[in-house]
């Protein structure tokens, strides 16, 4: 009986989200399925008459741009757990991406000191690298448990910088020289490896599969005791604890799960590129992903996906378009900043706001409106 009440409220909300909520279960299922299939067909977007050529990137091969989008989306999904759900402002998220990528490189690259002992294939390195990122998540989470807001942001920022500087200055992690010949993911098709060096499409598909699994996992957590605990912590940490929420445990889980998803992005990235060095993991990266999450709609997976895709797509799309003598790509951060400002002015709750966030903002409007 309460489900009817709940649906009734959901129904009454407007926009695409409201419309989607009003559809019966099977319609929603079909919509989700069709979107997933369309996502898998994205590499062939250029074939679509008229709009196709407008969408695809010019300065960078389209499947590669899609693959870039896929790991940015993963990062946005992971960061959304930490920032959007648990409300822990993490500015050093790129650190986990780096740990995932370096973990893979250390275990598989011939340049690694461990190579003689391991020399593993990519797939064998994945679970170890992911376990490593989760540990890194706990290492960051543990000492920062008491921090919130600005203070947490500063410490996490420092964390990412420590990892980058560590990678730059220790001989084991090889700084600029980096790790080459990181093996690609396994698999053969018609006698040729699926994951080669020229065609990025299979990597994109692999990324999509991982994204779908992550979405299902995070959704399961969100609609459970775990998600409720995260939200309660975000809303009022002390009240949550007084209502019996083990706040420390759930904050650590948020960090560990966020780190795990970021690490997934890292191992995929390492497997596709075959090469990483300390230049790959600059701080801008973290800020960009956070901007994507906020722009898309913090606390909401659809928003995080859209935001993550856009922060990767917009700069890539700008590549190869010249304005006078310069490539627009050179201005990417300026243009990007402009786009974010416009979006945040027009839609402060994000492109696809979480249901709750949208209501909160509406309420605020009511509060400030003259009676």
């Amino acid at each position: 009986m309460t489900t009817t009440t709940e649906k009734a409220t959901w129904r009454s909300s407007g926009g695409v989200r409201g419309w989607f909520g009003r559809q019966p279960g099977w319609v929603r299922g079909i919509i989700v399925l069709v979107s997933a299939i369309l996502a898998f067909l994205l590499p062939y977007a250029a074939e679509v008459p008229l709009i196709g050529p407008q969408i695809v990137t010019e300065g960078i091969d389209w499947p590669s741009a899609l693959f870039n989008m896929s790991y940015y989306v993963l990062l946005a999904l992971g960061l959304n757990v930490v920032v959007g759900y648990a409300g822990l402002l993490d500015l050093g998220y790129v650190g986990f991406f780096a740990v995932g990528a370096y973990g893979t490189a250390l275990l598989t690259s011939p340049d690694s000191v461990l190579y003689a002992d391991t020399g593993w294939k990519w797939l064998m390195a994945v679970p170890v690298a992911l376990a490593l990122t989760m540990v890194a998540g706990l290492i960051l989470g543990w000492p920062t448990l008491r921090l919130r807001g600005d203070y947490l942001a500063i410490v996490t920022l420092g964390f990412a910088e420590i990892i980058r500087i560590f990678a730059t200055s220790t001989t084991t992690l090889r700084g600029d020289r980096g790790f080459a010949s990181i093996p690609h993911p396994p698999g053969m098709w018609n006698g040729k490896p699926i994951f080669g060096v020229t065609d990025a499409v299979p990597y994109f598909w692999l990324g999509l599969v991982v994204i779908i699994l992550v979405i299902l996992g995070v959704r399961n957590l969100d609609r459970s005791r775990v998600g409720r605990s995260w939200l309660a912590i975000r809303e009022d940490e002390e009240a949550a604890e007084i209502m019996g929420v083990r706040t420390i445990k759930y904050k650590l889980w948020a960090f560990a799960i966020g780190a795990f998803i970021g690490g997934l992005g890292g191992v995929l990235f390492a497997g596709e590129q075959g090469f990483i060095n300390s230049q790959t993991f600059v701080l801008q990266f973290s800020i960009l992903v956070l901007a994507g999450v906020v722009m898309g709609g913090s606390g909401n997976m659809a928003g995080a996906i859209l935001g993550g895709a856009l922060i990767s797509y917009i700069p890539d799309r700008l590549r190869g378009i010249s304005l006078g003598d310069t490539d627009l790509y050179e201005y990417r951060f300026a243009l990007f900043g402009l786009v974010i400002i416009i979006i945040m002015v027009l839609r402060p709750q994000g492109l696809i706001p979480s249901r709750r966030r949208a209501m909160e903002l509406k309420d605020r409007e009511k509060e400030v409106a003259p009676q």
Partner: protein, 298 residues
Amino acid sequence: MSEPHKETPEELDRANERPVDEAAPTGGAKLDEPNPSPVRGEEVLLEVDHVTLRFGGVVALNDVSFSLRKGEIFGLIGPNGAGKTTCFNAMTGVYRPTSGAIRFQGESVVGKKKHEITRGGIARTFQNVRLFPEMTALENVMVGADAHHKTSVISALFRLPRFWSEEKSGRARSIELLKFVGIVHRAGDVSRNLSYGEQRRLEIARALATNPTLLCLDEPAAGFNPAEKEELLQLIRKIRDTGVTVLLIEHDMRLVMGVTDRIVVLEFGKKIAEGTPAEVRDNPAVIAAYLGVPTDAA
């Protein structure tokens, strides 16, 4: 929201001087009825033992002792700043007493984690409503119900049987509690959109969801009109009748007198009186405290 209603000295005066049932404009005939708690025993549930709590120079609690018996409705009253909320905070692990002991069912709660105390059986509401504003009413109550759940992250992630059974029972129980406090029709609404009265009721439902032995209500009637107060009174009795011991902080003297079995009065962190409502009402120190006359001049 509106400022919590505080009794003016005039109102309190009337409440003190005249028999309660005459003064009550709230259909208050029930208020002064003898109101023995049916399940009340002599067993001590909570013991506050010579508790002192200082904030820097402020002595918020000064050597306060009292004990609650199982099954009763116990009132904690006193003027603004008397230390009532601080007393709740000490009991629920928010503050640690500077000295003294607090024992719940014979076990010390001092130094325990807040969530441990809650699972141990003490639940509370807040003087200034502290719901999870962006969560629905039902979700708010389910957070409380989760206190005794054992679903792990892994079983939530993979939807293991324990997840399904706890989610189902937790949900059903939460809906029952929303019915119990009378706001089940708002179950799917985000709690910040609930009216003030509904929010206060929701806080009670959320606290009850943790399955408490002792429920502490911090001024649950603040800002209520007489009709709402009367409804709340019924609710508190209903809660007591389910076997939960209730500790009530309240400013409205009539409400406290009508519903409680025993009362402790605090002033400036000190206990100045203890006894049945009738005893406390006639205590000159209490009257003086409420009228703002210094105790020694009374």
